[in-house]
Amino acid sequence: MISLLGLDDAYHAPWFIALIALFALSLVLCSLRRLALFVKEKKTIVLPEEDRLLKMDLHSYIPEKDFSETLGLLARRYRLALGDGQGAVLEKGRLSRYGVFIIHASIIIILAGGLIGLLFGYRGFVTLKVGETKDRLTLRGKSPAEVPLGFALTCKDFKVNFYPTGEPKDFVSSVEIVENGKAVLGKEIRVNEPLSYKGIRFYQSHYGSAPVFFFNVGGEKVALMEREAFRKNSLLLMVARYESRVHDFGPGVLVAYLDGGEPKATWFLKNVDRLREQDLQGVRVSLNDIQEQLYTGLEASRDPGVFVVWAGFVFILFGLYVNFFVRHRRIYLLKVPGGLLVAGTALRNRGDLDKEFKNLLEEIHGHTP
C-alpha cells in the first residue's frame, strides 16, 4: 500500500507531481489574469475631477503658479503618464504593480527548470580507485543502470587532509578528463568545488577504502574490486565475495566464472599455495596480492535546467523587492481658477509619501523661474 501510494518516495510519486502541476497551472492562470488587469488599468489612467482630488489625503492648493512650469518641475522626478494643457497625471514606481506578476512568473520558471532537469537530466555516481579510469557512471534509482559519459575520467590521486583534532578538513580527488585517448583537462575536485565538463558535473561526495585483488590472468596483470568482472579470451570471471579469513587459511576470494554458460565458483586463498593458482577454462589464474586501497566517490549529475532555475531565483528576488519595497505613487496636477491643485496618492506601499509630498510642495513654492 505504502509503495502503491508512493509514500516511500513521496516527492517523486505521480500524485505529488500532479499536485505541483496543478499548482503551476493555477499560478499561470492567476498571473495572466493579473497581467490583463494591469494592461487594462494602464490604458484607463484618468485625471480625476477637482472634488475627488480634494478628497485625497494629500492635496494642496497652490496659488499663482504657472502650470507648464510646475509640470516641468514635477516631470524631473516623476514620469508623465497623462497630460493636456489643463491637467496631468505623473507617476513613479509603476514597476511595483508588476511585482506580484514577476514573483509568480518566477515560480513558474523555477518549476519549469526543475521539470527540464527531471526530463533531460540524471543523477548518478562514479567510484574511482587511484589510477583507475572509467567512461561510464552508475545511475541512482531502483534498478541501477550505467550511462556512458562520452569521455573518460581518471583518478590521478586522492587525498584526505585532517585537522589536528582529527576531523576531516579536505577531500581532494585529482582527476583528468580523457577524450579520444588524450588528456584534455586536469582538475582537483573538492567538496564545494565540483568539476563541470560537457554538461556533466562531478562532486566530491564520499571516499572509502576497499580491498583490491591483484590477479595474474593468463600472464596479464589485473586489479579487481569486489563484484568487478574481467574477460580474457573465452574466460569471463568476476570477484563474487571477499573474506578476510576463510576458516584458518587467511584471506580469500570467491571467483565466479562461466563454464559453457553454466555459472561456477571457486575459492582462491592467498596463503594456500594449492589454491592460489588455478586453471579456469584453460587459463592460468593466480591471486597475487590483496591490498586495501582508497577510492573516491564522486556524485555525477547532468541538469540542463539549472540555469533556468537560477534565472527564476534572480527574478523572484527582484520581484519580491519590487513588490514590497518599491512604492507606486501618483501625483495629480490640475489647473483651477487662480492657481493649481496638486494631489498625491500611494497606490502601493504607502511608506513615507506624506514626507515626500511635503518636500514636493516646498519645492514648488520655493521655485522661481
Binding site: P164, V191, N192, E193, F313
Partner: protein
C-alpha cells in the same frame, strides 16, 4: 574560559538588564526609562557583536579560522543578535516597549539556552568540508534575519490576544507591525532558501534534495506566503492574521530546532 565566552556572558546579562528596564518603564512610565532601554539595547548589540568578532578572531588563532556561523551554538548566538538587529532596524516602526521587551526576552532565552544547556557544544569546531564555502555566510545571515523578523511578527501575533490597556498597543497597530515584519522576513527567507539551493548545487550536486530542513523551510515559506495572500488578496486582518503569524512561527521553530533534534538529514551539522 575564553574571552569571547565572557563577553557573550556580559551580553546575556545586558539582555536581562533590558528586560528589567522595561519592567521599570511599565511601573514608572517615565520617558527617561524608555531612552535608557534603547541606549542599553544599542550597547548590548555592540557587546554582542564584539563577542562574535572575538570568537571569529579566536578561531583564526586556533588555525581553524571561520565565521562564527557554523554550529548550533553559534547559530543560537547569531539568532539572538539578529533579533536585536531587527529591533534596531524597525525601531521607528515599533515605538512600543512591550514589543521590544518580548523580542529581547527571546534574545535572552536564546543566549541563556546557548550558554547553559548541557546539550550545546560551545567550543569552536573546525569547519567540515561541506561548510567551507562563501555561501555559508549569505545563507545563514539571510535565514536568521528572516527568523528574527518572524520573531517580531510572532510577538505581535501573541500580543494581539493580550488585553492590557496602556501596555499593549492597539490591535490595528499590532496588525500593521506584524505585516511590516513579515514583508521583511518573507523576502529574507526566500533569499535564504535560494542561496541555500545554490550552495547545495555546488556542495551536494543538487539544488533541491527534499532534505527535512529544506522541506520544512518550504513549509514555513508557504505559510508566510498564505499570510501575505490572505492579507493582500482576501483582505484578512487582525485576528486571523495574528493566528497565521503564530502558526508560521511554530513552523519556524520546527524548521530551526525540530528538524535538528527529530529528523536527520544533510543539515545535521547544525545540531
Amino acid at each position: 574560559m575564553a574571552i569571547h565566552h565572557k563577553i557573550l556572558g556580559v551580553a546575556t546579562l545586558l539582555y536581562l538588564l533590558v528586560f528589567f528596564l522595561h519592567i521599570l518603564y511599565f511601573s514608572l512610565k517615565k520617558e527617561k526609562a524608555l531612552s535608557a532601554i534603547w541606549i542599553t539595547l544599542y550597547g548590548t548589540i555592540c557587546i554582542h557583536t564584539l563577542g562574535l568578532v572575538l570568537r571569529w578572531i579566536e578561531s583564526y588563532r586556533m588555525d581553524i579560522g571561520h565565521v562564527p556561523l557554523a554550529n548550533f551554538y553559534e547559530s543560537l548566538i547569531f539568532f539572538a543578535w539578529s533579533v536585536t538587529f531587527m529591533l534596531i532596524v524597525m525601531r521607528k516602526k515599533i515605538p512600543y516597549p512591550v514589543i521590544t521587551m518580548c523580542a529581547s526576552l527571546a534574545s535572552l532565552f536564546l543566549m541563556g539556552y546557548a550558554s547553559i544547556s548541557p546539550s550545546v557544544d560551545r567550543s569552536i569546531q573546525p569547519l567540515i568540508p561541506a561548510l567551507q564555502s562563501n555561501w555559508l555566510h549569505i545563507h545563514v545571515i539571510t535565514c536568521f534575519v528572516a527568523y528574527a523578523a518572524f520573531v517580531i511578527s510572532f510577538v505581535c501575533g501573541l500580543l494581539y490576544f493580550v488585553e492590557w490597556k496602556g501596555v499593549v498597543p492597539p490591535k490595528e497597530v499590532l496588525d500593521n507591525i506584524n505585516y511590516r515584519s513579515v514583508i521583511i522576513g518573507f523576502p529574507m527567507l526566500s533569499a535564504g532558501i535560494l542561496t541555500g539551493a545554490v550552495w547545495a548545487h555546488y556542495a551536494w550536486g543538487s539544488y533541491w534534495s527534499w532534505d527535512p530542513k529544506e522541506t520544512w523551510s518550504l513549509i514555513t515559506w508557504i505559510i508566510y506566503a498564505l499570510f501575505l495572500h490572505a492579507r493582500l488578496v482576501s483582505g484578512w486582518r487582525e485576528k486571523r492574521i495574528a493566528l497565521i503569524s503564530i502558526i508560521g512561527f511554530m513552523s519556524v521553530i520546527f524548521t530551526y530546532f525540530g528538524v535538528n533534534f527529530i529528523l536527520s538529514g544533510l543539515h545535521t551539522y547544525a545540531t
